[in-house]
Amino acid sequence: MADDKVKIQEDTRKMLVKWKTKRGSLIMALHEIQGAFGYVPWDSMEVVAEELKIPMAQIYSVLTFYNHFKLTAPGKVVISICDGTACHIKGGQSVIEAFEKELGVPAGTTTEDGLFYIQIVRCLGCCGLAPVVVVNGKTYGRVTPLDAPKIVAEWRETMAKEGA
């Protein structure tokens, strides 16, 4: 773990070089950190506080204000289910329920094995394909509740192949 901390802090410091000189760049820096680690680790926050000279409390309050930021590592497979209006009208809610049932956890949480994380998002900009589900960057359009087990199985297989 100690090694992890050193590595995370080192990487974070590198990322902050370009943001140090720009004003109002806290959120941009946090985006970059989450992009690299999948969430914003506490260890990174410490470096941000130091380098950008922003109190920890302020960083934390910004992180918790915005839905986009995660404070803990999500599962390896992130399932984003759209509940924007277009998807909602076309049955998005039943798709959410189907995934929750299939994985046995509510949206916003990670499965016990750390493999899947379900999150609800509001419009992914492809409403024409509603209801939409995005899994690790791959988009599924016109999803029905019946597709949930298939999509989960597909990703279980993919991850098994990758040896996760």
Binding site: M28, F65, T85, C87, V121, G128, L129
Partner: protein, 585 residues
């Protein structure tokens, strides 16, 4: 900015003049290059089509053209949104001298067939091209009202050009608006925008020229004044701005720069939702290209005008679409609104004068400069000029992105452009203005879409989301959905919104569960009216709209759910009948 000597400035100006000439030449070079192509295949690779696999369709087109040795005769173009997103991936084949053909649901296999049955014969043989039934079935008529009833200003180049090719943008008149503006006085530019009647497309409809005049009058603070482009697009289920940024980033940048010249702004910020990676990527590219070719920088095109632009990402907070919250977010802070005045044009980003404009608003500016204010104000109604882009989604047959003249009626939108309901069931209502808007029932099909009419009916133009609902959709459910969204997204700063919204949602849930009473309905109205009056920002002020508007037009649906039946003290309203719009079929 660093002070420069007169000599340095003269040098930069000379460079600027050369850069302008180079740019004009770049457009001519582009025209020269495409002259030699005998055909073009335009393939949409915007968000929807991309998600549907457009990238591999593009590969398939390129590979099969290469295999037939036609790659130098046929231009394969990766374009922005073509509009009919629900039928994507879309590809349009244009053979010189022939009518263009649009294909829907294109797959890589189909792309290969399009090349072998359509493109190759068209280039190698004379006379009619006969394609197989397989392709015929996937042809979409370009004579559909979906296409013919549109009037494109903002979406003009989307689907017809490569958004990453600056030369193509220039060849299509790009940056000519800016070039023209820079030959005028800033006041003259302001005058043109004022005369055009352009109003903000972000929802409020505030006259853009007036906003810019206010900024122009504010003196620089520490040598700075700002323009911000609002690309937060928080309305869930709407994606106009995403596509405009992704397919026409240079046009938005050009609009911002014309505004900056007119107002004396020194730099600009694009605030774009993090959920829109393509929009961000294209805007980053546009800024990079603009810097490289001297469109952004110092002494632009040999004038005294200096301007720089940068991007900031949103982070998933609807309230950040509100301008004061947005500025706080650009500063890297929590996005909480603050009271106005002071208005942003007086005290904005980093406490300096700032004008905030919506993406679509800015995209209109270049064409207005090139074609003149009269050209623009001829389109639309008496008070709502020009066009409006809508994302028409929900239970509609032709779902996608459309641009229509202001004043187009709801009926034309739903029945003609939208082609009726996707289910074939009777149409019930459309919702405009997203979580801040309201419903327009089927009885109001004749209503023209413009700022005033929408407001009158208890909705609003919003940024352009238009959700079509049919007989099966419960109005109570949809109102509850929107309210749930705004309660989730309330920043919690002021009590009317934080507490009122929460209480209202509990009551709505109670009603939806069939446990509500007449007293609950009365209470909701009371809370709603208090929220409208007492909330600090637009989020809380407009959050009750979906509920109040559905209560007004679909009282019967609420009544049916109450345990004590009809609510007595409401004025008797004419019953809204769902009218079947598919009878013509």
């Amino acid at each position: 900015m660093v002070e420069l000597s007169q000599e340095q400035i003269e040098k930069l100006k000379a460079l600027g003049r050369t850069q302008k000439e180079n740019l004009i030449k770049m457009g001519e070079d582009f025209k020269e290059k495409v002259k030699n192509f005998k055909a073009s295949i335009y393939t949409c690779n915007a968000t929807s089509c991309h998600s549907g696999g457009a990238a591999s369709v593009l590969d398939a087109f390129r590979e099969s053209l290469a295999a037939t040795g036609l790659e130098s005769d046929v231009r394969v173009v990766c374009t922005g949104c073509m509009g009919l997103c629900a039928s994507g991936p879309l590809a349009r084949v244009e053979i010189k001298g022939k009518k263009p053909v649009l294909y829907q649901h294109v797959t890589p296999d189909m792309a290969r067939v399009i090349v072998s049955e359509h493109v190759v014969p068209a280039l190698k043989t004379e006379g009619e091209i006969k394609t197989s039934d397989y392709l015929k079935k996937q042809e979409l008529s370009l004579d559909l009202p979906f296409f013919t009833k549109q009037r494109k200003i903002v979406l003009r180049l989307l689907g017809h050009s490569d958004p990453e090719d600056l030369g193509e943008y220039i060849a299509n008149g790009g940056y000519q608006g800016l070039m023209k503006a820079l030959t005028m006085k800033p006041e003259e530019v302001l005058d043109i925008i004022k005369k055009s009647g352009l109003r903000g497309r972000g929802g409020g409809g505030f006259p853009t020229g007036t906003k810019w005049e206010m900024l122009a009058k504010s003196p620089l603070v520490d040598g700075e004044k700002f323009m911000i482009c609002n690309g937060d697009e928080g309305d869930p289920g709407a994606y106009m701005d995403s596509c405009i940024l992704g397919g026409g980033s240079h046009a938005v940048l050009e609009g911002m720069m014309i505004g900056a010249y007119a107002t004396g702004a020194t730099s600009g910020w694009f605030y774009i939702r993090a959920e829109y990676p393509l929009a961000i990527q294209r805007m980053e590219l546009a800024i990079k290209q603009a810097k490289r070719y001297g469109i952004l920088g110092r002494n632009i095109f040999g004038t005294d005008f200096n301007f720089m632009a940068d991007i900031r990402y949103g982070a998933g907070a609807f309230v950040c679409g509100e301008e004061t919250a947005l500025m706080s977010s650009v500063e890297g802070k929590r996005g909480t609104p603050r009271p106005r005045p002071p208005f942003p044009t007086q005290k904005g980003l980093f406490q300096k004068p700032t004008a905030i404009n919506n993406v679509e608003t800015l995209a209109n500016v270049g064409p207005i400069m090139v074609n003149g204010p009269e050209w623009f104000s001829e389109v639309g109604t008496a008070t709502s000029k020009g066009t409006k882009v809508f994302a028409i989604t929900g239970k509609v047959k032709h779902s996608g992105l459309v641009e229509v003249p202001m004043g187009t009626t709801v009926g034309e939108m739903v029945n003609d452009i939208g082609g009726g309901t996707s289910s074939g069931k009777p149409f019930k209502a459309v919702q405009t203005g997203g979580p801040s808007g309201g419903v327009i029932p089927a009885s109001e099909l004749h209503m023209p879409l413009c700022y005033e009419e929408l407001k009158k009916i208890g909705s609003m133009m919003g940024s352009g989301g238009m959700i079509v609902m049919d007989q099966d959709d419960s109005m109570v459910e949809i109102a509850k959905f929107y309210l749930g969204f705004t309660v989730d997204e309330s920043c919690g700063k002021c009590a009317p919104c934080r507490i009122g919204g929460y209480q209202m949602l509990q009551l709505m849930k109670k009603i939806a569960d069939g446990k509500g009473t007449k007293a609950d309905v009365a209470k909701i109205k009371e809370i709603g009216n208090a929220m409208k009056k007492a909330s600090l920002c637009g989020l809380g002020q407009t959050a009750p709209n979906p509920v109040l508007s559905t209560m007004k037009f679909f009282k019967n649906e609420y009544d049916a759910l109450l345990i004590d039946g009809n609510e007595p003290d409401a004025p008797a309203e004419k019953e809204v009948k769902a009218c079947n719009i598919n009878t013509k079929k």
